[in-house]
Structures are given as C-alpha cells and as structure tokens.
Amino acid sequence: MNAKKQKSSKTWYINPYLGGVLLGLVLIAANFVAGRGLGASGAAKSAIVATVETVAPAHAEKAPFYKEYAASHPDGAMKSWLVFQMLGVIVGAFISGAIFGRLKFKVEHSPKITSRRRILFAIAGGVLFGFGSQLGRGCTSGSALSGMAVLSFGGFLSMAFIFGTAFALAYFLRKNWI
C-alpha cells in the first residue's frame, strides 16, 4: 500500500448560502433592535478619534473632522453602537475559530509571493480602504450590505463601485492571488 500522504482536505466552512441566510438574520435582528444595520469602519473611526482626543486634545478641538465627530457624539467617541458591535465581532470570530480549529498565527499568502509582499499589500490596501470608507461613509458591511437590506440607493451604488473597481483592477494584481 502506498504510504503516500493525502494532502489534508480543504478547510471546512459552512455552506455559503446557509452562511448568507444566517448573516441576513443577524442583519434583521440589528435593524429590529437598534434600527440600524451592521457596520465596521465606523468603529475604526471612533477608535482613531478617541486616540487623537487623548493624545493631542488641543488639535482635536480645532480640527474640523474631530469637532464634527465630537458634536455628534457627546458621550465620548468610543461610546457608539458600532464600537460595541465590533468588540462582539472580535469575540464571535474568535469563538468560531476556536470551535472549528482555525486559530493559528500565520500570514496567508499565495506561495508565488513572499510574506513580506503580502504584508506590504495588506497595509496599502488598508490605507486605501480606510480612506475610501471615510469618503464613502461606510464600508462593504455598513454601506453596501446594510444599505442594500433597506434598499438604499447609496448602498447599491457603493456596492457596484467597490466590486466593479475590484474586478477592473483584478487583472493587474493577479500575481498576488493566483
């Protein structure tokens, strides 16, 4: 008998359609209880504003971005719905990773590129996404997904442009992935 070791089977994830339905239910619950959809970039924004307010309060009082934010969040930058939601996301993902045995420190990259290249692109992608999410007032979860669920025109628009641009640029970045 050949002692050839079989490559371990693909990581098991739940059926994507089931995942989608569950995600939709979470979305409905969020809208039902809090009257708003899910989101992500807003929490990062809160974190940045809170940090700047602590580290450089004088600057935060003068600069218009922070002033506008403080005006709409009188209780403090971090006391926002999204921040609590994101804390939950971190916990929930951890639990799921633990249950399904996916907890592992690694840099996930295509074998055709180095770790370092992947990390550089991750940072670059993050910078662009951070900037873009502020400009677009939402990321894929907050604007596209939650927006589509309430039939918002802005949601469909941002969905179309995010995915459209990514498809358009996919060819140029194919070395990173395939």
């Binding site: 059926n15 359609y17 089931l18 339905v21 809090a34 009257g35 708003r36 959809g37 989101g39 992500a40 970039s41 807003g42 924004k45 709409s72 926002s80 719905w81 999204l82 999410s133 502020q134 007032r137 939402g138 990321c139 907050g142 604007s143 939650s146």
Partner: protein, 226 residues
Amino acid sequence: MGRKEIPKRRILNYINYKKMKPRHYVAIVFLTLGLVMAAIPQNTTHPYKLSPEALLEQVNSGMQYFSPEQIADMIISKDPSLLLIDVRAQNEYEEFHLPGAINIPLSDLLSEDWREYLDQDVRQNVFYSNSTVKANEAWMITMQLGYKNNYVLQGGLNYWVESIMNPEAPPTTSPNEEIAKYNFRKGAGMQLGGGAAVSSESQPITSPSLPPITPKPKKKRVQGGC
C-alpha cells in the same frame, strides 16, 4: 407475468433529490418569497389613523365643539388646560385675537414647529377662526394625524362677538335659564373687554399647576454610522 409499475406522475418525482444542490433550494425559497413581495402593495405601513367611518362618527357627534360660554368661563377662571389656537392669517390675529390665544395659521399647521402644541395630551387645544370653516379644517387634519385633545370653538369669532361681547338681551318673558345665560354672557363680555380690541401682546397661558408638556418624542430616525 410481471406487471411493470407505472410511476405516478407527481411533481416531486421530477425533483431528483440527490441532484438538488443548496442553491436550488435557496432559489426556490427566494423566488417564492420574491413573488409574494412583488405582489404586496406599497406602503402598507402607513394606515390612516382614523378610518373614514370613525371620522364621520366624530363629525356627526359634534363632540369637537366648545361653546363660547364654556370658553369664556375657562378664560375667566384662568383654566390652565385651555390653549386657544387662532388658525387665521397672522395679520388677522394681530388685529384681534382672543385672550391667551396663539397663532398657527392654517397653512403652517403641519410644520414641525407646532407639532408639540398639537400632538400632546396635557392641554385642550381649541381652534377658532372667523366662522368655523378654518377651525374645522384644522380639526379634521389633526384628527387624521391621530392627535388628541383638539377642539373647535363653536361659531367662531363671529358668534363669539355676537354672544359674549354684545349679548342680546332676551325678552323678560324668557325662561330663567335664558336670562341666566344672558347675564353670564354680559358679565363675561365685560371681563373680557366687551367688544374692544384685546391687547395683542398676550402670551399663551402658562400655569404652574399643570405638568409641563413633555413633547411626545418626535419619531426620529435612528442615527447610524458607517
């Protein structure tokens, strides 16, 4: 002799369960629900607050009216629950208005500024205009919006002037209650200025004995972020 079984022709037989993938189930469920969604009419979440029958009943009962005597009585006794609302134009209001009345021209009735006056459950708002036409219009609109405690001055200012300001003395052969009514009107008229223009600087009646009106929280959209 074996007889070949003719399979019964049921729809379920055409669905080969082994070949059905999740997305087929998803598609079936979504298409069914989607068809239902496409069929339901728009805006089923905004029913009229009052059905036409209920509104007609209210109109016929005439329960929205306050007589001038009642209003005069409330003004004189400084009843804090009364708020007179003049629904005429601003210039007419400034020329003459009842003591303590505020001015919400009918055209501005639905503006947000006045909502907390109209949609509350502490005071009794009494609309008035020259006759009862505009006042009744205001009343019907606020009824349809589901606001409570809104009423109409019977006869409007025309009747008010006639009955309270310049009451007609009944012949001495009238029953006692007619005479009592006349006396009351005359007294009220004198108290209220008897036909002379009331100073146009009166403010809405405020009284410490009433609980402060907490405006019904305006139904506002929840604020969301990204």
